[in-house]
């Protein structure tokens, strides 16, 4: 059964309001093909033509006090239905979101109030070969709530994960959202929609560690005045890896700020697509939007496609955008080698430093884990372990060394 056909025989009762709306949408849109603009550099032909069997469930939630977790099927309670309706217009990537809506067998809801101290982790281990899994997550932060959410997507076999996450931030709420895409031979097509009320803060870090296909469509609607989103991302591709990040931020209120800062390293025959959009129209005063995408190309066979674009209709917007595709800094390489660092080590140190800067703000121990995961992907990556050691210059603290190996 080809991927699209799975929707016609969707098993179980699913999530009723999602399924009924998505069925019609999917009939109208179908799945993206060669001519679909947003999929120009990322072919899903293999995925749409191969046999696929819907897989059930798959989200593992490691919750924290202060967060209610609901796993819902069939008809939804009125409050959840209301939350869903409020975030619905933010969803990007209509095709796969619709497929997810038809196939999703449950809706997982995280409902947070107040300051949630411990991070909440949601893990998806990936679908088995020949199957498609469609996890669906809704995250709701009440006004003034604070939460750190870690979403992990793994992949042990060659299945397809078509994941949809929706986020609603109440007034003055703050979400630190870290997504790890580490899918190896599996494929991930993820959609993430965020709706922000007044003065809310959304801070996202997406880490894509190669993979056969890791695609994310992220759309943020800044609906309330004074809201802010910072979208950071880093990726590393090697071999035949293919990653694709499509971002879209819409400013709908005055005094809202958005930043997009993505960095990637491309080796082997890896491909990375970055398409970042910021739309600032009719917002009134005080809008600020920045976009930056930097790529380090390490091999002739790798390809970077980058397109940051701003859509602005008045002059008062403070805005910047830029994209670079460059190679390693030869002067820095020479400097390191002239001090005795072997060539391969020097390259890895520079590559790691380039990506590592974006990890700086991630909470520990996740930051160290991600730094280690990056290290493992780089040749002679172990040299960067020495770069993580705490070297303290303050003599008052004994020998000034913490955690020396």
């Amino acid at each position: 059964m080809a991927l699209l056909d799975t929707s016609r025989t969707a098993p179980g009762k699913g999530v009723a309001p999602l399924r009924s709306a998505a069925k019609a949408a999917l009939e109208a849109s179908g799945l993206p093909g060669r001519k679909t603009e947003a999929w120009r550099f990322t072919s899903v032909r293999d995925l749409t033509t191969a046999d696929a069997t819907p897989a059930q469930g798959g989200l593992v939630v490691d919750a924290a006090p202060g967060v209610d977790v609901h796993r819902l099927q069939g008809e939804l309670p009125a409050d959840v239905a209301g939350w869903l309706a409020a975030v619905e217009p933010t969803l990007p990537n209509a095709h796969f979101v619709a497929l997810n809506g038809v196939l999703a067998d449950e809706l997982v809801v995280l409902h947070a109030q107040g300051h949630v101290v411990a991070p909440v982790t949601v893990t998806h281990h990936g679908a088995g070969e020949g199957s498609v899994s469609t996890p669906r997550l809704l995250v709701v932060l009440e006004p003034n709530a604070e939460l750190t959410l870690v979403e992990r997507f793994g992949g042990s076999s060659k299945g397809l994960t078509n994941a949809v996450t929706q986020v609603r931030l109440g007034a003055n709420a703050g979400l630190r959202h870290i997504r790890v895409h580490d899918v190896a031979q599996a494929s991930l097509i993820g959609a993430l929609g965020v709706a922000q009320e007044r003065d809310s803060r959304y801070r996202s870090l997406v880490v894509s560690l190669g993979g056969r296909l890791a695609r994310l469509d992220l759309r943020v609607r800044l609906e309330g005045a004074g809201s802010r989103c910072d979208l950071d991302g880093l990726y590393h591709v090697d071999g035949q890896d293919h990653v694709d990040h499509h971002l879209r931020v819409e400013h709908h209120a005055p005094h809202a700020t958005s930043t997009q800062t993505y960095r990637g390293v491309l080796d082997g025959r890896g491909v990375a697509v970055f398409d970042g959009q910021a739309q600032v129209t009719r917002t009134g005063p005080g809008a600020e939007a920045h976009q930056q995408n930097r790529n380090l190309l390490l091999s002739e066979g790798a390809r970077a496609h980058t397109k940051p674009h701003l859509e602005i209709d008045h002059d008062e917007v403070v805005a910047s955008h830029g994209a670079t595709v460059g190679s390693l800094d030869e002067d820095a390489l020479f400097y390191l080698r002239a001090r005795g660092v072997p060539r391969e080590d020097a390259r890895t140190i520079l590559v790691h430093a380039f990506l590592r800067e974006l990890l700086e703000s991630a909470p520990t121990p996740l930051r160290d884990e991600l730094a280690a995961a990056l290290r493992e992907r780089l040749p002679r990556g172990e040299v960067t372990a020495a770069m993580e050691l705490a070297l303290d210059v303050d003599e008052a603290k004994g020998d000034g060394i913490e955690g020396d190996a």
């Binding site: 002067d331 020479f334 400097y335 002239a338 001090r339 005795g340 520079l350 430093a353 020998d399």
Partner: protein, 254 residues
């Protein structure tokens, strides 16, 4: 310590060094002076093995405890392990790499290449703190990314700090004094003088006689148009400062 014979080198097909000869004994400090574009930095890059500098003729031999080695056969990092150190005219900033981590990795790479034990974090920090004091390098700069946002003087001090930690056999200082005020010059010079010793030789490239009041050279060479055209003692630097290069150019019939 260092023997350069008939060295010819070119960049992008342009001949820059045109038969350079120089002999530097162990423990000696030689100054190299010369006009802009004479090939002074080119010489320093050829010695350290920078890519893009093609040696078309000549030999460069360095004495090591294991006998003389031909630098031209060696990779950049192999030369560093053999004891070559270049203090850059324009030190490179490396965002995201901390000064201390970088230097520990460099030192341990060199020690490893020589078959010596690597230094632990604690051993390294003890060494680094002591050496930082000798060039009055503030602690904050040790933690910052390599040369990133450093002032001109801080970069030069950082170069000498690294030299003090790495303890090279052959140090090449390319205009380490340029752009320094008199206090910074004194600090840097004292740092360099503290490193003078019977088993260490230095090539000090400078435009200014002033430096040589602080770091007193055994020999002064004048490099013009890719060749050493005159060699003398430290009074030659005074003479150059008074008369300029024209007279020497004419005498050498260049």
């Amino acid at each position: 310590m260092l023997t350069i014979e008939n060295l010819h080198a070119s960049v992008d097909g342009n001949a820059i060094l045109k038969g350079l000869n120089l002999r530097l004994e162990a423990g000696q400090v030689h100054a190299i002076m010369g006009p802009n574009g004479a090939g002074k930095s080119t010489l320093s890059y050829v010695l350290s093995g920078r890519e893009g500098y093609e040696v078309t003729d000549g030999t460069i031999l360095l004495d090591t405890p294991d006998g003389a080695v031909d630098l031209l056969d060696m990779e950049i990092e192999e030369r560093a392990a053999a004891g070559v150190f270049l203090a850059f005219q324009y030190p490179v900033a490396i965002p995201g790499v901390s000064n201390l981590h970088f230097l520990r990795t460099a030192l341990n790479s060199i020690r490893k290449a020589r078959g010596e034990d690597e230094l632990s974090g604690a051993q390294f920090m003890k060494l680094a703190r002591a050496k930082a004091r000798t060039v009055e390098l503030p602690k904050e700069l040790l933690k910052r990314a390599v040369n990133d946002g450093f002032s001109g003087g801080e970069k030069k001090r950082n170069e000498i700090f690294q030299m003090a930690v790495l303890e090279p056999r052959l140090a090449i200082l390319d205009e380490t004094d340029s752009g320094l005020d008199i206090d910074a010059l004194r600090i840097v010079s004292e740092g360099v003088n503290a490193l003078r010793g019977p088993e260490r030789s230095m090539l000090v490239i400078t435009h200014y006689q002033r430096l040589l009041d602080h770091i007193v050279p055994d020999v002064v060479h004048v490099l013009v148009d890719g060749r050493i055209v005159k060699t003398g003692d430290k009074t030659l630097a005074l003479e150059l400062e008074a008369k300029g290069y024209d007279e020497i150019r004419q005498a050498a019939a260049i």
